[in-house]
Symmetry: C2
Subunit: 404 residues, 2 copies
């Protein structure tokens, strides 16, 4: 992992609470010295974990100063006790830090349907507060891992009005990864000085083309959360939504720089999530071009990305483009069989709906670690890219044995 910059005024700590099992850090605290602007996006699953419900309420205030997060237990499907536990985690954190309870957010990831081991979490929260500053953000990235095989963190340093602004993001992924955010937690901290509506807009734009365009297994989790805290300590002029008319002015605006960097960060994080998909050996980018519209492009790219037959073929180095055609056909998107072209890592394998006879060469190209499948539908102007991974025996192993 490259070294991750730390934005001004953010402190971190981690602890071992043996939530699922002992021997690893599984509890972490993210803290801003100043009350920060906070924006968030949450799972669209009808079943939402208790901490998600808590955060959705609190975020209406637009303000926050700390996030307490654990791995090993999702605190989902845990009823009233789960809600009490989630609130209690924020209350204990607020008390230890001398904050308003409403300024503390809580996130959990791990197994669904188990009560939170509060007897082990409670004593660790004051320890987290005491140890603030003894961990770096990379340590938090490690503490929130579940079946992830590597911690995921990235940061960008930009200049706005001559001031250095840092944006750093971490996330965890691995399973239950699907459009509209996954079993995923993502925390982004920045010292940018930015108004709430601009922060919201930048976050939405970033998530739309990153976390909402990845799929590992088509399952959507109950816990997905992206939170960004901006504490303003970089001292730049307030970044506002860009309402200027002239394109060249907009391109150099603080908002544009911030928004581009944030999109860059979420895209890179989402790539890391897919690369670390459970059992995955290959990162696969599906790009659909010239669909009727963007929605159709997205729909057909996701049908391919979620096809178990396509994913196993990629794993087996088998350029079985018939499975791609079949997925296009059932995606619901408008397609014309005899206009469809498919390229595999640059090699045209389907031309006007028929094989080009280059399957052997294509099989060779599938041996790469990164696969790009480009589909040109030749119908309209809609484009979309979706990231996914191959499907392997190890995915099955990991998920057949996750709890046992």
């Amino acid at each position: 992992m490259k070294s991750i910059f730390h934005p001004k005024g953010f402190l971190f700590s981690t602890a071992e609470a043996a939530i699922k099992k002992p021997g690893r850090k599984d509890l972490a605290l993210i803290y801003s010295e100043r009350e920060a602007m906070i924006a968030g996006m949450f799972t669209t699953n009808n079943i939402k974990a208790a901490p998600v419900k808590v955060d959705i309420k609190r975020i209406k205030s637009d303000k926050g100063q700390a996030i307490i997060v654990n791995s090993g237990n999702a605190n989902a499907c845990t009823g009233k006790q789960g809600m009490n536990d989630a609130v209690e985690m924020t209350a204990l954190t607020a008390k230890a830090l001398g904050l308003k309870q409403g300024d503390v957010y809580v996130c959990s990831t791990g197994v669904i349907g188990m009560p939170m081991p509060m007897e082990r979490i409670t004593p660790k929260i004051s320890e987290l507060a005491t140890n603030l500053g003894k961990s770096v953000i990379d340590d938090v990235a490690a503490a929130i891992m579940t079946t992830d095989t590597f911690p995921k963190a990235i940061s960008r340093k930009i200049k706005i009005d001559g001031k250095t602004v840092i944006i750093s993001g971490i996330c965890k992924g691995a399973g239950m990864i699907c459009p509209n955010m996954a079993t995923m937690l993502c925390f982004i901290v920045t010292d940018a000085n930015i108004e709430k509506s601009a922060l919201d807009k930048a976050l939405k734009a970033a998530v739309k083309k990153s976390f909402n365009r990845i799929t590992i297994d088509g399952d959507m989790s109950t816990n997905d959360t992206v939170l960004i805290m901006a504490n303003g300590m970089a001292g730049n002029q307030l970044i506002t939504e860009d309402r200027r008319q002239r394109t060249e002015d907009r391109q150099n605006s603080g908002y544009r720089k911030f928004s581009d960097s944030l999109s860059d960060i979420t895209y890179e994080l989402s790539r890391m999530i897919v690369k670390d998909g459970e059992g995955a050996t290959k990162l696969v980018e599906i790009e659909v071009k010239n669909a009727k519209d963007e929605a159709d492009a997205e729909k057909s790219a996701f049908a391919i990305a979620n096809s178990m037959l396509v994913k196993t073929a990629i794993y087996g180095n088998d350029a079985n483009w018939g499975r791609i055609m079949a997925a296009l056909g059932y995606s619901g998107a408008g397609i014309k069989e005899d206009k469809t072209d498919i390229f595999l890592n640059g090699l045209k394998i389907v031309s006007s709906g028929m094989g080009t006879g280059r399957d052997k060469a294509a099989n060779e190209r599938l041996k790469a670690n990164e696969i790009k499948i480009l589909i040109d539908l030749h119908i309209g102007k809609g484009n979309a890219k979706v990231l996914t991974c191959d499907l392997t025996e190890d995915y099955v192993k990991i998920n057949a044995e996750y709890r046992t």
Copy 2:
């Protein structure tokens, strides 16, 4: 396999054409001595194989007398040549049998996107015609297998107006199995004397609750076809759609008996398909009760049945009901978390949205070969049952190596 009855006037033959590889029967002919009433249902995939396109046109005549079918090559995504080949197969068959070309149907299953090896198929078609009667319907069931591990056939004998009527069905399944029919071919032959609209109605009703309620991998194929031929040789009075008012009259009607037996046959065949799902070790029935309506029940049952996380957990004997809840949550169906009950082979594992703490006992019950997951949503009156199977390393192996 139980012995399969042969309806009057149907003859069968099979041949080795080495379509994908030598050493097995891969071409078959189904023939009725009399021109029969024929009804069919076809894949809803936008990409349709050439033989499907041919059959969809021909079936408008309501008449048919022969079906030529091959495994090993799907004749899909094969362009004009594929269409020519499909038509040619029917022309050769018609010539060999002395039939009108429009009375011959053609079906193919196997790899997508490869040209049909007509040089090997052509000489076998006259052989098929010559050998009619030397094979039984079970042999046809074996000849249409691809990754199937056993042939699938079943029949029913019923009395209508004192006459014995036989209905016999065969099918192949294995991969690309998804709602709205799968990579599946199903042929049903009957000597019933039945009008076309009654045959259509009975077939639609049967397919709706059988082939359209199974899923193995969520992939829908380009070749799915169900064809039923009824040649009337049983000599019963013409079966017509039931328009009688009194329930007791309807219950004893010829239509009702025929329709029930046909539904029974397609349900049993669809169970066999799922049982033989690629790599499957367990047959899984998902029943959703008391959803808002039938559509919601079906939607949520399919979300669970298609969840890779649920399917791997079942394989691993892990009663991970959190994954079932998560799938319910993202299914799009209306649910109330705190009203949801889940039973696993009769054991209540979720009560009002929370675990009952019986996971260990539930893990034991998962060791059975047949798993029944019952979800009671306690919202309305919609019910639906969906059949699926577990997801194993072998599914990945089979599909990573299918062509290579």
